[in-house]
Symmetry: C2
Subunit: 418 residues, 2 copies
């Protein structure tokens, strides 16, 4: 890694830690979208934007935007985005590292007296994490014109609807259409990897080729509730035994597919509920939620198509059956723009940083921006791949390196793009 | 099945249905121990006892006892017992069939002018089902002198302690020692099978050789929480995948042991909880509760001793480990008295009823009486083996047949016993 980066590493780190310190006191690190603490965080981000020479506004969708005009009238905008909200009991880097890196880029542009033809913006997208409204990427959906009327009327547990909450964040839902953008020349996002690959491969920068598509499937396995003391083993229809066979074969099949050379592929049973869940009753029913992600759409479709017969075979002999097999959601992969990827690779190389081309298994605001503009992402290493936990960690130098790649890429894109 | 039984089949059935009708209105059939509805049920049982010629009292442990004196002074007592409390959302037969059968026997004794040398009692044991105090068989434990000081101070969710609740049921915990019995010549209990064996074997009466010992083991399987989208399949430590391997091998091993010719053996994972149980997080931890029951103590011990290495082998390759393996409870099998079993077999045969000798996988009050007196049980068929559900069902004729076996057995025991 190069020592002399065009980024104020210490300033960036200090800003990031100061933002992280704005946490719900009883459970660090928590700054949930729409909460009072979130607004405190936003006020800090806005102040740092202003300090970096950016003009600050909140768009009608509640996104916080810091802008620097370009020299060319009517030139489009180069955007660096990410988010400042966190999951509950999350870390100090997810999202915030990207926002603060954007601000550090703005500061370097000012310090180095850079004159850009394009306008430049840093966007702190509203509510990227799954929010109390059961929805993620609220701000970036709106920028892509994809926040629906139905979604705007969803309510959280105390009854507030999303539209009202966006207004409370400084938005103006009556004028939501004006948040939709058609002036973005390029969208860049830096994010922590949230996985162990860069650490394991000892690379500085992940060049993110795509955000994996995500298919979620609810599977219900039915057996029969019987007395656990009195029902002979041969007469049971134990739904947990059926579900165990299903979980085992899903893991085995996913390992096989992940090794098949079709890019990123993972499948996880993360939610699993048994009924009646009593010590002396043979389980009658298991509901499990399968989350499958793939870089290649066709490869994911193949997995889903072959899954049910695979499970049925694995469960044969358990006297249980699949009573429900329902695709709950099915998001397409989002591809990075190849030209932007080349610029990010070149920028990394110029800085003496090593790269690894990879897909993102997690969703990001970039997926929504990619619908309306050339977009791309980079990853920086996550210690042991830990994320969404207080253990989340990236080194100050790793974050500064990512910000430096963004800085170099912005300079190159300003010249290369119309 | 013989048509002409020495029991008033219709009267017994009507009594049983009248008792069942005393249920919490919103969730039939529910008459939880210590509830107001339980006291209503008890009042009805007491009235039916009196009607059958029994003198009614409540002992200091809160057991409801109907007694008929014998001709021989100082002769011991022949007891028929079971319980009138139910599980939540239970059936109309579990426990109550045995109590009402005992009362029907008393009525037949009176009607036939039988003169017994022994005293005869019907005992409605307090709180056989696991109660709000987290304890089962409260009344029969006390009769066996096994209700501990610690247990008496346990409290239920609203704060009442067990000792106060027993007093509220008509008991007198200050004099609890007097509930302990040393005058029982024989204890008999009729219960629904709660399993499908008698139905499948087309037999009228189960001659219960033993109540299986029950060992409950809590097993915790640890993996590591990782992002389900970003963590490659090869780098995961998925606790659910480890637990699935464990559940499968437990079921397989239990089927093998159940077929090995060592009497009743079952093993069930009935409680199963995963953490964090979120769609996008690789499961970090699974806690499962294993309930294993066997007629032969040594056979159960062998299962428990070989279990941990068996699980470790099955989980190898899943990168998960067993972090806890804790025996939560370990109840010895309770053996029926062989002489009583022969009497029950003879009584069945004399009535033209077919029998099947079997162990009970479920616990019963008999297990506690067997510590202080010769004891034995019979089962009557349960439709499809269903129990602890509103579907619970036994035919009027099946219940009357069981009561008739008790009646014949009481007459024979009165002659045979000292």
């Amino acid at each position: 890694m190069r020592a002399n980066l065009p980024i104020d590493e210490t300033g960036l780190w200090d800003d990031l830690m100061a933002l992280a310190a704005l946490t719900d006191a009883d459970r660090p690190w928590t700054r949930r979208a729409f909460s009072p603490m979130f607004l405190e965080g936003r006020a800090f981000v806005a102040e740092r934007m202003r300090d970096a020479g950016l003009a600050v506004r909140i768009d009608t969708a509640g996104n916080l935007i810091g802008r620097r005009e370009g020299r060319t009238e009517d030139a489009k905008t180069i955007v660096i985005g990410s988010h400042s909200d966190t999951v509950p009991d999350g870390g100090r880097f997810d999202g915030t590292a990207g926002v603060m890196a954007g601000i550090a880029v703005a500061r370097s542009l000012t310090r180095h007296g850079a004159k850009l033809d394009h306008a430049f913006e840093v966007i702190d997208c509203l509510a990227e994490e799954v929010s109390i409204f059961g929805l993620s990427c609220i701000g970036s959906r709106a920028i892509a014109g994809q926040l629906s009327e139905e979604q705007l009327t969803r309510s959280e547990p105390t009854g507030e609807i999303l539209a009202a909450a966006i207004d409370r964040m400084g938005g103006d839902v009556d004028e939501l259409d004006t948040a939709k953008r058609d002036d973005i020349a390029a969208y860049l996002e830096m994010h922590i990897e949230q996985g162990p690959v860069l650490q394991d491969e000892r690379r500085d920068i992940g060049i993110v080729t795509a955000i994996a598509g995500i298919t979620r499937i609810e599977i219900v396995i039915e057996g029969r509730a019987d007395h656990a003391g009195t029902t002979p083993m041969t007469l049971r229809q134990d739904a947990l035994v059926g579900a165990a066979a299903a979980v085992s074969v899903i893991a085995k099949d996913a390992r096989r597919r992940a090794a098949a050379g079709h890019g990123h592929f993972v499948a996880t049973v993360g939610e699993f509920r048994i009924e009646p869940n009593a010590a002396n009753v043979v389980p009658s029913r298991v509901t499990l939620l399968l989350d499958a992600r793939a870089e290649e759409r066709g490869f994911l479709q193949g997995f889903v198509e072959e899954l049910r017969p695979l499970l049925t075979r694995a469960m044969s002999g358990t006297a249980t059956r699949i009573s429900e097999f329902r695709i709950l959601s099915d998001a397409l992969p989002a591809l990075s723009d190849p030209r932007l990827l080349d610029v990010l690779e070149d920028a990394s190389g110029a800085l003496g940083l090593t790269t690894h081309w990879m897909a993102s298994g997690a969703g990001h605001d970039m997926a929504w921006f990619s619908r309306i503009a050339p977009s791309a992402m980079i990853f920086i290493p996550s210690k042991d791949g830990r994320s969404h936990t207080p253990d989340e960690w990236s080194e100050p130098g790793e974050i500064a390196a990512g910000a430096a790649v963004l800085y170099e890429a912005v300079l190159r894109l300003d010249k290369a793009l119309a």
